[in-house]
Symmetry: C2
Subunit: 204 residues, 2 copies
Amino acid sequence: MPTARRPYTPRRPPEERREQLLDAAIAIIARDGYAGISIDAIAREAGVTRPVVYGVFAGLGPLLYALLDRQEQRALGQLAAALPTDLDGGDPGATLILAVRRLAEAVRADPTTWRPVLLAPDTMPAAVRDRIASDREVVRQRLRTLLEAGARQLRVDDLDAEIAAHAAIGVAEYFGRLIVEDPEGFDTERLVRAVGSLLRAVGL
Amino acid sequence: MPTARRPYTPRRPPEERREQLLDAAIAIIARDGYAGISIDAIAREAGVTRPVVYGVFAGLGPLLYALLDRQEQRALGQLAAALPTDLDGGDPGATLILAVRRLAEAVRADPTTWRPVLLAPDTMPAAVRDRIASDREVVRQRLRTLLEAGARQLRVDDLDAEIAAHAAIGVAEYFGRLIVEDPEGFDTERLVRAVGSLLRAVGL
DNA sequence: CCGCAATACTACACCACTGTAAATAAGTGA
DNA sequence: TCACTTATTTACAGTGGTGTAGTATTGCGG
């Protein structure tokens, strides 16, 4: 009796297979964390054998890089939508509150996109971590510019915008992780209120 | 010609061997990150064979847990030394600035202790991560109490101490990671000055 | 200086994952 | 319906790690 042959998975053009494999990788990360990721696990998750994966990606590193690339596009898009380009003389406080609410909602609505960015551990390939770090720097510079504009507008002259931008990124990523890990247990409005009273304490 | 026998490493009583192995683990983490950790790697680093490691620890999980345990004692000790127990009617601003400086210096002086706590990736055993999470909660509650006392003293009545404590932990851990990853490139005094001007903005 | 318990090492069986060459099935166009 | 391209599978060789049973060495107490 010959050993039963595995039934063929439906054929897909490479581009479609590629997306499917990235989705499989995300599913594993969401279910088992980054520890569970491997070419083998991804192939299994997609109901496919390893050579299929190698047909589309050169290895785990490139696959993870592609994954980040895809999720990063989405994350940066949501970020751009939440953050103003410049202040235009508008009310900096209102702008901040709006940005906070939008970001919190974006992360809550789409944790799958944000998880690989906010929770990338140091077991990720160096290329991936470097990319995330450089994205973070871009966002931080933009934030710094905004903070400087806000400070000018409010006649604050002793703001260290560099440090402040660091701190803002730190808090934002922290709350982002909180949301990703427990979207239900997070109260966006309470956060917004807290930002509101901080603004009041600073004097608008 | 019989294959050359490996020379015996000097014998050590278990307690001493235990410390040596934990030191070896730390060295690997510092050099290669958490990705490089394994019983095998630790044994090699210590110049010893695997069975020696198994003689002291039941496996990688228990070893990492023991490692965290040791470093955590040191970290919590430094934290306790940096954070006041209560405000006692002292100046909350000065207290905060002192705490910030002490913490920054503590992390800079001893990154080896803090790295496993601040940079524990999700590839760490669940037991380890849970322990870190619960430590964080303890610190956060203490912080919340301090913030409430400070708010009372300053006649601030709309502070959400829960959220504020979260934010403070978020920023503190972020800057902590910055220091651990690049102790030289970090300017403690500049950070302290920035906290100072924030305090001034809030009105002392 | 010798016996022996404590401590270390060797060797093996096993598992999970990697990467690739060769075989096979599935569609597609003539 | 048949040939052919393309996508998928099987099979194998290699790597690195785990955990343990058995054996050798060390160095201390007498």
